[in-house]
């Protein structure tokens, strides 16, 4: 059946290697496939590779490829295509090349066998390439699309040739994109979609109106406050879940002084863990949940939600809402009357981000932490964070690999440009032990030992209040009642699980 859906952002390109952004990867996962893929529960399962195992004599992984798979133009899928796609995706022009940072070489072993050689043991490598999509070598080369489009468009920007369940029927960027099923798909078809039309709708009220008026069958996401409205209407349903994204406050750990304070100008109180803990105690997560999120969030204790691998079961506690304690801690740290500081937040990045920050500022103020709130669009938010232009900031993090190692690498390890570590650790939280543990975690094959190390990292960073984890961001999708679909925790929407009744 025809299926029409909407989301806020249009995928900018049809080239799977040009842009590493969720809208693009999510959309193209319907068209292209990788060696492995994620199932409904986010677990890794075979896709173009039927099986994989660590190499015996060197660090790396061997992938055994599926035979008999053809691209949508009819060409056969072979190991050459994997090698080609690797080269393409790890080229300078590609935005996804960081996935292959640990890889030193890819070897075609046979028509249907490929080896990925890594610098060091890398137990998580297969997990990290779930979004690595394979193109046909001949198609790309003969259409001048051997490299990802960077400055100008190329053939792959507007055209596709994947192995996946759907293929592109028409594309009008920013307006509508139509997919039709790939009749030659190798896997069992679970959907009954004959044509799928995607429309980006930027304004959430408009999107909801489009759903309620029946012009679209499904929309992702809808605003939290409208859940009741949709549920209350006949013929519509809301799908609620939790994204893997944890929202947190970060601090300017390495700043000597506050940038935005009107009273404390010669020191940075946030270098004192007691102050950071005080801030954590000031947050009334229950009220945030009730008023801002209508009871749809889960409080977070660490930088990943509970169902992510590596989650530290041992450290599930979080600083409770305790204004008394917060004031005490401030007094202990030498700020009995509190102080003022600057709080930076984006206003178009996370669900209710601006409202959250306003509420948090008000909660901080109640214990004497007077936040000067400054919000702005994300387009100049990141540059500000990169320039260290904050005292405290809001950040959401979704582990791309669905493993705890990801936030440790990006958010907890000290900044290290050379090794490309700690690149989103804007406040440069730095702990020698954490830095020491990260490479070990990355290489440890034994799950228990690995978990122990992760537990240690979480314990340290909780102890030091490196961040204040707040909650896991909810995922709210809405659809017509007659549509069955699967909501995956990474907020990817897979057409192959859609059935229209």
């Amino acid at each position: 059946d025809e299926f029409r859906w909407a989301s806020t952002t249009d995928p900018q390109t049809m080239d799977p290697h040009a842009v590493n952004s969720a809208p693009v990867l999510s959309f193209l996962n319907n068209i292209y496939e990788g060696l492995v893929r994620r199932g409904q529960d986010m677990s890794i399962e075979p896709s173009l590779a039927t099986s994989w195992e660590p190499l015996a004599d060197e660090d790396g992984w061997r992938f055994n490829l599926r035979e008999g798979v053809t691209f949508q133009d009819g060409a056969a899928f072979t190991a050459e295509d994997v090698l080609f796609s690797y080269q393409r995706a790890s080229d300078e022009t590609a935005d996804v090349r960081s996935w292959f940072a640990p890889v030193t070489e890819v070897r075609v072993v046979g028509d249907y066998t490929v080896d990925f050689i890594t610098k060091a043991p890398n137990p998580l490598f297969p997990d990290s390439i779930a979004n690595f999509m394979i193109l046909d070598k001949d198609w790309a080369e003969s259409n001048d699309a051997a490299l990802a489009a960077r400055d100008a468009e190329n053939f792959a920007t507007m055209n596709v040739n994947g192995t996946g369940p759907f293929t592109l029927a028409s594309r009008d960027p920013g307006v509508r994109t139509t997919l039709v099923p790939n009749t030659a798909w190798w896997d069992d078809v679970q959907h009954n979609v004959t044509e799928a039309v995607f429309t980006p709708i930027g304004n959430s009220a408009t999107g909801l109106a489009a759903l309620l008026s029946g012009e679209i069958d499904f929309i992702q996401p809808i605003p939290l406050q409208d859940v009741a409205q949709v549920e209350g209407r006949d013929g519509f349903k809301v799908l609620e879940g939790e994204e893997t994204r944890v929202i947190m406050f970060g601090f300017g750990h390495e700043h000597d002084t506050l940038l935005y304070s009107s009273d404390v100008t010669d020191a940075n109180p946030f270098t004192d863990p007691r102050v950071r803990l005080a801030a954590a105690h000031a947050i009334d997560i229950a009220s945030i949940d009730r008023v801002l999120f209508r009871g749809k969030i889960e409080a977070a204790s660490q930088l990943v939600p509970a169902d992510i691998s590596g989650f530290s079961e041992a450290n599930q506690g979080r600083a409770d809402f305790n204004q008394e304690r917060a004031r005490e801690l401030l007094a202990e740290a030498g700020y009995p009357d509190g102080f003022s500081f600057g709080l930076k937040c984006p206003n178009d990045r996370y669900i209710n981000d601006e409202a959250l920050c306003r509420a948090a500022a008000s909660m901080f103020a109640a214990v004497g932490l007077n936040a000067e709130l400054s919000t702005g669009p994300v387009r100049d938010y990141w540059p500000q964070l990169r320039e260290d232009d904050f005292d405290m900031y809001l950040l959401g993090w979704s582990p791309g690999t669905f493993d705890m190692e990801h936030p440790v690498r990006f958010l907890l390890h000290s900044q290290d440009n050379e090794k490309k570590l700690g690149s989103w650790n804007f406040g440069n939280y730095s702990n020698a032990r954490v830095d020491e543990l990260l490479p070990q975690i990355q290489q440890e094959i034994d799950p228990a030992a690995r978990q122990a190390m992760l537990d240690e990292v979480v314990a340290i960073t909780q102890e030091e209040v490196a961040y204040i984890p707040l909650y896991t961001q909810p995922l709210i999708w809405a659809a017509k009642d007659n549509v069955d679909l699967t909501q995956r925790a990474d907020n990817f929407f897979m057409l192959r699980w859609v059935t229209v009744n």
Partner: protein, 301 residues
């Protein structure tokens, strides 16, 4: 009494125009409320400790589940609607009036000079006006906002958002003043009193500001009122597009923008009460503008 009123024709007209009286009452009430906001408002939206998320989303008193403390309910931050609106009107009016003043000074000054000197100077001013017109208000706002962000130290940017926005609105309004002032000045330039003044050897600045300006004030005043309304609306629109004020400095426009999120969710008051308020304000300013237009129209005298 009649004699007094006859002397002040505008006043006489005023007491005989119920619409104008009503508009004036509404405008004055809003104005007074805005000025007195710090003293009469229940909470101060700028003082984060004066309200609490705990009180969030309470409906107005006539609905179930309300808290009599908050007559018109609270928003998603727990701010009293009445207080937010009073402070919001305060900010909107400050921005509107300030933007208007800048626009008027700039526009009238340039327009007067263009009309007075004519020739090349006039041509240059009018081309600049064309450039301004070709850059719609929204884009001007973006430009100013962007430049301010680029050149001002981050620490004061937030404090200057209001100033930046004001300037942006002012820039998009000055052309109106300049064109009107220029056209009226052209008319006045042919009037004999101006020629008399020039002939006597008076300074150009004196001719422009002492002689001509008072005579072209009428149409300018009308533009002022109409543009005050547009300035307030423009601010709301810019906020909607995300280039206006941050949510914690609630202008009427920001309140409406925030309220838009609750259009469907059942918390109607968060959107509709500020909207109603804005409409009342803008309509009454416009009515007063129309009224002024009548007063200044010599044909209706």
């Amino acid at each position: 009494m009649i004699a007094f009123l006859k002397r002040y024709e505008g006043l006489w007209l005023f007491v005989h125009s119920p619409a104008a009286i009503m508009a004036a009452v509404v405008a004055v009430v809003i104005l007074v409320g805005a000025v007195l906001a710090p003293w009469i408002a229940l909470v101060n939206p700028y003082d984060l400790s004066s309200f609490s998320l705990f009180d969030g989303l309470l409906p107005p008193v006539w609905e179930d589940g309300s808290n009599p403390k908050f007559l018109l309910g609270t928003d998603d931050q727990g701010r009293d609607m009445i207080s937010s609106i009073l402070y919001g009107a305060r900010l909107s009016l400050v921005i509107g009036i300030a933007a208007l003043t800048i626009a008027a000074v700039l526009g009238v000054g340039l327009g007067l000079a263009a009309g007075y000197y004519g020739g090349r100077f006039d041509a240059i001013v009018m081309r600049i006006a064309d450039v301004q017109l070709a850059l719609p208000a929204i884009l001007t706002a973006l430009l100013i906002d962007g430049i301010a962000r680029g050149i001002l130290p981050a620490a004061i940017q937030q404090d200057l958002r209001v100033a930046v926005l004001t300037l942006a609105i002012a820039l998009s309004l000055w052309v109106n003043f300049a064109r009107t002032a220029r056209a009226s000045t052209f008319v006045q330039m042919n009037k004999e009193y101006v020629q008399a003044a020039i002939m006597m050897g008076q300074r150009p600045s004196r001719v422009m500001f002492v002689h001509i300006l008072p005579n072209i004030l009428g149409p300018l005043l009308v533009i002022m009122t109409v543009d005050l309304a547009s300035a307030i609306l423009l601010e709301a629109t810019l906020s909607f597009l995300g280039i206006g004020l941050p949510a914690d400095s609630p202008s009427l426009g920001t309140l409406i923008r925030i309220g838009m999120q609750f259009l469907l969710s059942g918390e109607w008051w968060i959107l509709w009460i500020p909207t109603l308020f804005l409409v009342a304000l803008v309509v009454s300013i416009n009515i007063l503008g129309d009224f002024l237009r009548d007063v200044f129209n010599p044909r209706l005298r």
